[in-house]
């Protein structure tokens, strides 16, 4: 007989329409401590989805910047507003993080940084580099 994982948080559930309905599913996420590469990964997803949502803001700004000299200068004045600057900074932070974490992804595709140790180091590098770049993006904005 096949060995099954016997812990309180694991149990086989039947999804009904899924292909492999005998797979154990952990239903209690609070029993899992997400490792650093996992944090990097979920942030990559969250930033990606958020960027999808803010595309209209960027398109609107692109539109205003292209229509005419007047709308371009209006947009420039708008960007002097503190709140608007914060919004742009958050969007830029999302772009920067998503880009850096994406580059880590490409390295892992090439087989670099896939061990437990190097994946952790790579994650720290992603946090460090994107942190620095987000800081400089703020400096550039202000």
């Amino acid at each position: 007989m096949r060995k099954r994982i016997e812990t309180p948080c694991f149990r086989a559930i039947n999804h009904g329409n899924s292909v492999n309905s005998k797979r154990p599913v952990n239903l209690d996420l609070t029993t899992i401590k997400l490792p650093l590469p996992g944090v990097i990964s979920i942030l990559h997803r969250i930033s990606g989805f958020s960027l999808f949502l803010v595309i209209p803001i960027l398109l609107w700004m692109f539109q205003q910047s292209m229509i005419s000299l007047e709308t371009f200068n209006e947009l420039k004045d708008l960007l002097d507003n503190l709140f608007v600057k914060w919004v742009i900074w958050v969007i830029l932070a999302g772009v920067i993080y998503h880009l850096i974490a994406g580059i880590k992804h490409l390295f892992m595709d090439a087989g670099i940084g896939e061990t437990l140790e190097s994946a952790r180091n790579g994650s720290l590098i992603v946090l460090f580099v994107s942190g620095i770049l987000v800081f400089f993006a703020g400096v550039w904005l202000w």
Binding site: F49, L59, Q63, M66, L69, F72, L99, L106, W140
Partner: protein, 115 residues
């Protein structure tokens, strides 16, 4: 495995490649824009307009927009199939995403060529 009917490339491997190729295109576009903004600290309308409306930048921007649409679709598909289990809800979510991406793209084309 979730059905591949809604995959962009109809296979996981194809989506995997699309995700990476489009990522590199968008990254390249980001670096070009970054370089432009850094080299123009006090940007004026004429410089900006001439830069973005020259044929090469229009084409590059259009390619990047296509890449963003494809990249976002694969990413949103992945998120939808991971977190949205009921087929009806997942289908509605994906339909909404597809519509949004199409609107984004059409709007961007209008800005690039219509103005």
């Amino acid at each position: 495995m979730v059905t591949s009917v809604t995959n962009l490339g109809r296979s996981g491997l194809s989506d995997w490649l699309i995700q990476r190729v489009t990522a590199v295109i968008v990254a390249a576009f980001s670096f070009v824009m970054l370089g432009f903004f850094i080299s123009h600290p006090d940007l004026q309308y004429a410089d900006w307009y001439n830069f973005m409306s020259c044929t090469s930048m229009r084409i590059f921007t259009l390619i990047s927009l296509l890449a963003i649409s494809g990249h976002a679709w694969v990413g949103l598909w992945t998120i939808a199939t991971d977190y949205l289990k009921p087929t009806g809800i997942r289908f509605l979510f994906q339909a909404a995403c597809a519509l949004a991406l199409f609107v984004y793209f059409a709007w961007a084309v209008q800005i690039l060529w219509g103005l």
